[in-house]
């Protein structure tokens, strides 16, 4: 009896390696306290903090919108504009962790239809689809 295929545990990213340039120990990098310090022990201009947190929330909202747009694209017909004025259409399957590649199927190219393909995101100028 075959055991069911186990799914590998997903990871957010891989561990960061050495930067290859320095010996590390960045002064601002490492020692971030996990638990917040007692109130009043830190001094920060309040206005600046609020502007930064607004921007951060805006970035988070934009990022979430983008990721959800990718989710909405799954299974849909998407038209890609590539370099040199090339346009192709395909059914969107998935993207990888860094959004470096799009996995597509039924890719209609000027030289025929490719059943399955990987499109490099660096080759894509824009894409459009109807949800």
């Amino acid at each position: 009896m075959q055991t069911p295929l186990a799914i590998p545990v997903p990871v957010l990213r891989f561990p960061r390696g050495p930067d290859g340039l320095s010996r590390g120990f960045a002064p601002d990098g490492r020692r971030t306290r996990l638990k917040p310090e007692a109130p009043g022990s830190q001094e920060c201009p309040v206005g600046q903090q609020s502007q930064e947190s607004r921007e951060q929330r805006a970035r988070a909202a934009l990022r979430e919108r983008y990721l959800r747009s990718l989710l909405a694209m799954v299974g849909r017909q998407v038209r890609f504009t590539l370099h040199e004025g090339v346009h192709v259409t395909a059914h969107f399957g998935a993207t990888d962790l860094d959004v470096a590649n799009f996995y597509v199927s039924q890719l209609q190219t000027p030289i025929g239809i490719q059943a399955e393909a990987l499109l490099r995101c660096s080759d894509i100028i824009s894409y459009t689809f109807e949800p």
Binding site: P8, V9, V11, R23, G24, L34
Partner: protein, 350 residues
């Protein structure tokens, strides 16, 4: 849904990783140091494996590395006949302690005031870190090179292993209390303070002894020669790795082999549980460290638990409410990130 272990590979070393150690749990998390034959021990964040810095200074293979409890200091033992003490926050070298032969092992006391070293000169040395110029206290007795030396029983005793013996010494009198003899080479030793347990590996055996009396508690046999083993802080599991490149996980109480994991491309030289027991790290001849989850599929560090599939329509609706920003404000922030694809500068043709 069955989940398969995803080990996290920490790259950066260029030669075999021969030793690794975790710090205690600090307000900044916990940390991991790795000793490598490339002479460049590295400090990493313990729960993610992210590289923090490399301790530069040794002129030979680093055989042993350790952190003090609060990860403010590091110590390393090297083939350049020195042990070094480092500031683990800045990466600066604090002390170089000259020895007469290859140094293999280093260990801090709980209060970080003393450093224990051992190596091929067969002597145990105790350095007072507050008086670095003073001569260390020396304990002789080993008849072959010392592979591992550890403080135990609240730093009142010392455990040391050479090729065929494990010896227990009293710190105050500097005399041998007891010894164990083995007819196979001892490959590793780990001391668990809570419960005073000593984990010793030799041949294919993983043996547990009382750290106080050296009396045997139990032992297990693995399918291959084991180079290192570690007991989980709650003493439910142990992990071991060795010459067949695999990691084995056993139930400590029953001795049952629970899992084995492939992944390394060379023999495993060291394996240790993190101080919170949530993961274990392995160092290999292949030059990498790998982090493994104790409970596969749990959300921890970089591992993310998968939730059941939701309807894709639901997935497309934004969940973060951000009413304060208008669309224009979001557009402004979004435009920071977009590149101009069509450059206005003319191309220069050769």
């Amino acid at each position: 849904m069955a989940m398969r272990q995803t080990p996290l590979t920490c790259s950066g070393h260029t030669r075999p990783v021969v030793d690794l150690a975790f710090s205690g749990i600090t307000p900044y998390g916990y940390f991991l140091i790795s000793a490598c034959k490339d002479g460049k021990p590295m400090l990493r964040q313990g729960d993610t494996g992210d590289w923090i810095g490399t301790f530069l200074g040794h002129k030979g293979a680093v055989w042993g590395a350790t952190l003090n409890k609060d990860a403010t200091k590091a110590a390393t033992a090297a083939a350049d006949f020195t042990a070094k003490v480092w500031d683990a926050v800045s990466g600066d070298e604090l002390m170089t302690l000259a020895h007469k032969h290859i140094v293999k092992t280093v260990d801090f006391t709980q209060d970080s005031n003393y450093l224990l070293t051992g190596g091929q000169d067969k002597l145990l040395r105790i350095y007072d870190l507050n008086k670095p110029e003073a001569e260390p206290k020396e304990i002789s007795g080993h008849t072959s090179g010392i592979k591992k030396a550890l403080w135990c029983s609240e730093d009142k005793q010392i455990l040391s292993a050479d090729d065929k013996t494990v010896r227990l010494w009293d710190h105050a009198t500097m005399t041998e209390v007891k010894s164990l003899n083995f007819n196979m080479s001892v490959s590793s030793m780990e001391y668990i303070p809570e419960g005073e347990i000593l984990v010793i590996t030799y041949g294919r055996s993983i043996a547990f002894h009382s750290a106080v009396s050296l009396d045997p508690i139990k032992s297990f046999e693995a399918p291959a020669t084991i180079n290192s083993a570690s007991l989980h802080p709650e003493k439910e599991f142990l992990v071991a790795g060795g010459e067949d490149f695999k990691l084995y996980k056993y139930d400590y109480n029953s001795g049952e082999e629970l899992e084995s994991y492939k992944g390394h491309f060379g023999p495993i030289h060291c394996v240790r549980f993190s101080p919170d027991g949530e993961l274990y790290a392995s160092g290999s001849e292949d030059g990498t460290l790998r982090l493994w989850q104790t409970v596969v599929g749990k959300t921890y560090g970089l591992w993310k638990c998968v939730l059941p599939e939701e309807d894709s329509g639901e997935l497309a609706k934004p969940k973060i409410n951000f009413p304060e920003a208008t669309e224009e404000e979001l557009e402004e922030i979004a435009s920071e990130n977009s590149d101009s694809i069509y450059s206005s500068t003319p191309e220069v043709k050769a």
